[in-house]
Symmetry: C2
Subunit: 118 residues, 2 copies
């Protein structure tokens, strides 16, 4: 009833991405890690509202948070974004078969590479 055949955890990522403020936060965090205060400076909403967005991003595993003294550093976690990207990749075939095939080839190369590193 809740996304049977989907990779676990992807719902949290999609949910987190559904808000434009949160997508903006991800963009900022891609440039550098930030405290809640630094993120808040870049938006016109209250710090508490920003904190809620950061919590949802953390629940979706799109960011991680580490304490540093009295501050909390928010850090981008790109792997969860990759899981969303992978979900979308299924539809590649519907907009461009050639691109999909090339990406398949690349994926296989990646797999072989990680096997040989083991």
């Amino acid at each position: 009833m809740s996304g049977a055949s989907e990779p676990q955890g992807i719902q949290g990522a999609f949910r987190a991405l559904s808000d434009p403020t949160r997508r903006g936060i991800l963009m900022f965090l891609s440039e550098q890690d930030m405290t809640i205060g630094e993120v808040s400076e870049r938006f016109e909403i209250t710090r508490a509202a920003v904190k809620k967005h950061l919590t949802i991003l953390e629940q979706g595993k799109l960011i991680s948070v580490h304490a540093r003294g009295r501050e909390r550093i928010n850090h981008l976690e790109p792997r969860a974004l990759k899981s969303v990207s992978d979900w979308l990749r299924y539809f590649d075939q519907y907009w461009d078969n050639r691109l999909a095939k090339l990406q398949d080839v690349i994926e296989r190369q990646e797999q072989n590479k990680s096997k040989s590193t083991k």
Copy 2:
């Protein structure tokens, strides 16, 4: 205040994708076009609830709807999914530089190809 530097319309797509039922509907529609009734058979919620999801998918331009007699045919529109995929591609660099570079090359080939067809 509402996603300043984002491509127009992407919010509707992200919103539509944030619900697991809607993602399931997209999967089914990728196999074949369906009426509301056919979609409803595949879920345990009422037809009216399915209709609401289809409306949100249509608003996000992820599907199109065409009347055929007394039925309404729902059809997958992959281009909007591509816009989401493109947004995510920005983050490729953070999880795998090699893959990102290869994709850049592919994109450029696509651009040249479409130029030469004009």
